[in-house]
Symmetry: C2
Amino acid sequence: MTQQPAIEITAYDWVPDMARGKVKDMRVRWALNEIGLPYKERLVGGAGGEKSADHLDDQPFGQVPIYKEGDLTLFESGAILLHIGEKDERLLPRDPVARGRAIAWMFAALNSVEPFLQALFLIDLRGEGQPWHGPASGALQPFAENRLQQLSAALGEREWLEDRFTLGDLLMIDVLRTTSKQQFVRAHANLAAYVERGTARPAFRSALAAQMAAFEEREPK
Amino acid sequence: MTQQPAIEITAYDWVPDMARGKVKDMRVRWALNEIGLPYKERLVGGAGGEKSADHLDDQPFGQVPIYKEGDLTLFESGAILLHIGEKDERLLPRDPVARGRAIAWMFAALNSVEPFLQALFLIDLRGEGQPWHGPASGALQPFAENRLQQLSAALGEREWLEDRFTLGDLLMIDVLRTTSKQQFVRAHANLAAYVERGTARPAFRSALAAQMAAFEEREPK
């Protein structure tokens, strides 16, 4: 008898082409693959649609991924990654200083880098073709560019943000690779190379294949 | 001989009036006060100014707080809070499920709520008096309003986001109380009351007094 995986993650069964490979269950699949932990997936109605009451009970903002393991139901990809990281020092070092630094970079990805890129994405999403689009985007660009400049300076010539690959890198690379403002990343050769290194990892490649496969199953033949 | 506190936090010695009481060392002071841990403060040149190379070594984005304890130098208030939370179950429950939920709310505050409010703040900051200001702000408001609506629904009639006060509440309340869009918080009676409950805690009141005192020391007499 084959044992069922103890971990379940929830993903969308459909998203528009522009979002494929970028939905936030990617980072959770990637982390689980890095340490060889199997999981089952539960697919729910696509992004943007009405969410069921059950979904909102598990995820107050109606998003994915939701992570279930025994009695634990978690939302927020950052919290899910941290929980997974506690299982294996390949993701989260056990040394207190190295652990603290890795967690600092996780929060940096989600609170010091992503929000400034996301604000520009939202302006593009709502403003395309509107007269306010150009000036609003232009006014907010320097905030995003400044954060990427600071991140590039912090990374320097190193392979990863600290001595070795951690969840801090996984999350930062996932933010950088999925932003709609790729030109801001490519403006820094070291950041572009850093994203290449991260997304070349076998655990990333198989996570990407798994997310894409879930969409393809649903496609009309 | 009095022992020096083992913990040092870095704060600004000056910020404009509108930022006083809102700088992010507040949440760290608050957490330390909740568990009665003493700290020393190191004041550095105010927000917006050039940061020293030493400051950027410790905090890649040139912000505060920086947290030092022994060999550990941490940045990102979320990471600092999590580190402090590990010291005392009053901030972070030891039960794995309750712990996971508290951490999920920490990430929710920083990645699902704050960014949408912050985008509106940045549009106000750069757009005031510009013809694009109104339409850009109007286009992004629904994202912020939607997140606060969802948060209000998740809180319901409970006192705190889960069974008891945790770092998830501390961080969510700090995000809600400091946003420039107070009208969006006040639109939900339960969120307004939640912020009141949090900021009435003695540990919050003394944190606020300590941040304000640091500014007052520097004022010209």
